[in-house]
């Protein structure tokens, strides 16, 4: 099972005097169970790409296959709900989608839409709220009295509550403080490792890409400029340079050390292992 894009293109306002091409002939496979980052500068088509995964946008040419569910250009989709239940998409700034009187019923809203019985939906709401770090005392509070970061947690819980196999996140940490962003990323890591979810995350933060993701896809002007696993992506500093990506601190540090004549271990992607490798080299001399 996997997600496959075949010759997919998307043009906004296609049949009007003002068409604008956002994606151009995308061919791509994302394996089940991976944690994939989608990066690229603003306007490169990241949000457009991920909205094809639960058919919020339909391809204007080509097709996408999500675990056997095929979405083609010019073809009406049957069973849209079952697809949307399988692929949970968390929008950029999802806190704007809250509307219920209590947090509990807002989180239970999604499961109920997918036909899950009220009492089960509420139990599920409790469970995922716990998971995102909001305890029982929040259940009957209004979602509008929360801080920005807490609202975001509630919104994400609202997607987790119907247990999607694939979790798609569009810049989930945008606008959060560093600590809040870190907690959020730890949550996604847990969902990936402990719950076995396939995660696809749009992000601008290279530290998160390096520390949490398996694979990385770089979009440029609506086309795939590069897809590889994260380690080789950052190892190959030519690509990092030419593709105009701001590297993570550790990669930058390694590059500077190499420039100063140190032989740095290519596989070292965190401070302790980098220090260890440098120590080894210094003792040699």
């Amino acid at each position: 099972m996997s997600i496959t894009f075949k010759n997919l293109s998307h043009t906004y306002n296609e049949k009007t005097p003002f068409p604008s091409a956002a994606l151009n002939n995308i061919n791509l496979t994302i394996e089940e169970g991976t944690f994939t980052a989608i990066i690229g500068e603003t306007g490169s088509g990241k949000s457009t790409l991920v909205q094809h995964l639960n058919a919020l946008l339909l391809p204007t040419a080509g097709e996408v296959d999500v675990n056997g569910f095929v979405i083609k250009a010019d073809e009406k989709i049957k069973n849209l709900k079952s697809l949307r239940r399988k692929v949970g998409l968390v929008f950029q700034f999802p806190e704007y989608q809250l509307f219920e009187e209590t947090i509990e019923s807002d989180v239970a809203f999604g499961p109920k839409n997918f036909g899950i019985e009220e009492s089960i939906a509420k139990a599920k709401a409790r469970e995922v709220l716990e998971l995102v770090g909001l305890d029982e005392s929040y259940l009957n509070r209004s979602p509008f009295d929360l801080s920005g970061g807490q609202k975001r947690r509630v919104a994400i819980a609202g997607i987790l509550a119907f247990d999607p196999e694939i979790l798609v996140l569009d810049e989930p940490t945008a606008g959060l403080d560093p600590q809040g962003a870190k907690e959020m990323m730890e949550l996604f890591k847990k969902l990936h490792t402990d719950y076995g979810k396939t995660i696809i995350m749009v992000t601008h933060d290279m530290e998160h890409v390096l520390n949490y993701c398996d694979d990385v896809i770089l979009l440029k002007n609506g086309e795939i400029a590069m897809k590889s696993d994260v380690k080789s992506f950052f190892k190959d500093d030519l690509t990092v340079h030419e593709l105009d990506v701001q590297p993570p601190h550790i990669v930058d540090l390694k590059r500077r050390l190499t420039a100063c004549g140190f032989a740095v271990d290519e596989e070292a992607f965190d401070l302790p292992s980098l220090v260890a490798s440098l120590k080894g080299e210094l003792q040699h001399e």
């Binding site: 306002n13 949970g88 989608q97 509008f144």
Partner: protein, 266 residues
């Protein structure tokens, strides 16, 4: 929704585009008044000819005008059917059991359709050739004289321009929220009555919250830059009437006079 035609500005370069917005608004008002002068078919022929020439001059093209008309098509058909059933005057054209059509019904319907067509074309011409901001400047100036009787013309103009500015933003926001809720399994097209209400609530509540948030932000931003509606403000863009504008206004005023003449003669 973003391919909506009604009220959209088309950035072209034409004699009509470069007219003073005040003159354009006055011309539009004159022509709209002219539509309601009962000058029969001669009157409508004259107006249609004028609109046709102006559309050509503006370069926006007839297809664009027809597109603007599309949302009204249903209403026109509806009117047609109602008139057929209700108006039973004039000569009998057709009869089948209880169902009959009189020529008066057809004439009445045609009158209404032509009027609607003219009104839409004329207003579309104004909005398609005038930038929203120029339009509000024009409205503000035209309302200026009423300030003496206490009409806050500047505030009205500012409200109109802010509203115009935020229409596309709100449409975008609506689409965004609809997509977000669709991801949570909301079906905006089907569903039972209660489900429908829930799905509409899930759209309206976030929309209102974000609209109020935007309004508040905008108000603070304006205050921070010293905006106070009662203060005198100078303008970056000064409107200037040119010979063509004056001629156009006189022409449109003459159209009214002419049609009144026709109406009396007929």
């Amino acid at each position: 929704m973003s391919n909506m035609v009604l009220g959209r500005y088309l950035p072209l370069d034409s004699k009509i585009h470069s007219m003073d917005p005040r003159a354009k608004i006055m011309c539009m008002l004159f022509l709209l008044i002219a539509i309601f002068i009962p000058a029969g078919y001669v009157g409508y022929a004259i107006l249609l000819a004028i609109v046709f020439v102006v559309v050509l001059m503006s370069k926006i093209g007839l297809p664009y005008i027809f597109k603007a008309m599309k949302p009204m098509l249903f209403m026109m058909i509806f009117l047609f059917v109602i008139n057929m059933l209700v108006i039973k005057r004039g000569n009998l054209l057709f009869e089948l059991g209880w169902f009959s059509i009189y020529d008066e019904a057809i004439f009445q319907t045609l009158y209404i359709v032509i009027r609607l067509l003219l009104m839409i074309s004329i207003t579309t011409l104004l909005t398609a050739t005038t930038k929203p901001l120029d339009l509000t400047l024009g409205i503000e100036d035209l309302l200026g004289p009423f300030q003496k009787i206490g009409l806050p013309s500047h505030i009205i103009a500012m409200m109109i321009s802010i509203a115009l500015r935020f229409i596309p933003t709100l449409i975008e926001e609506t689409q965004r929220i609809m997509k977000a809720q669709a991801s949570r399994g909301v079906d905006f097209e089907e569903g039972k009555f209660m489900e429908k209400i829930r799905s509409i609530l899930s759209l309206i509540v976030p929309l209102f919250i974000s609209a109020f948030q935007r309004a508040e932000d905008l108000a603070y931003a304006m205050e921070a830059r010293g905006y106070a509606p009662e203060n005198k403000r100078t303008r970056y863009k000064l409107l200037k009437l040119r010979a063509f504008d004056v001629v156009a206004m006189i022409f449109c005023a003459l159209v009214i006079a002419g049609l009144v003449g026709v109406a009396i003669l007929v």
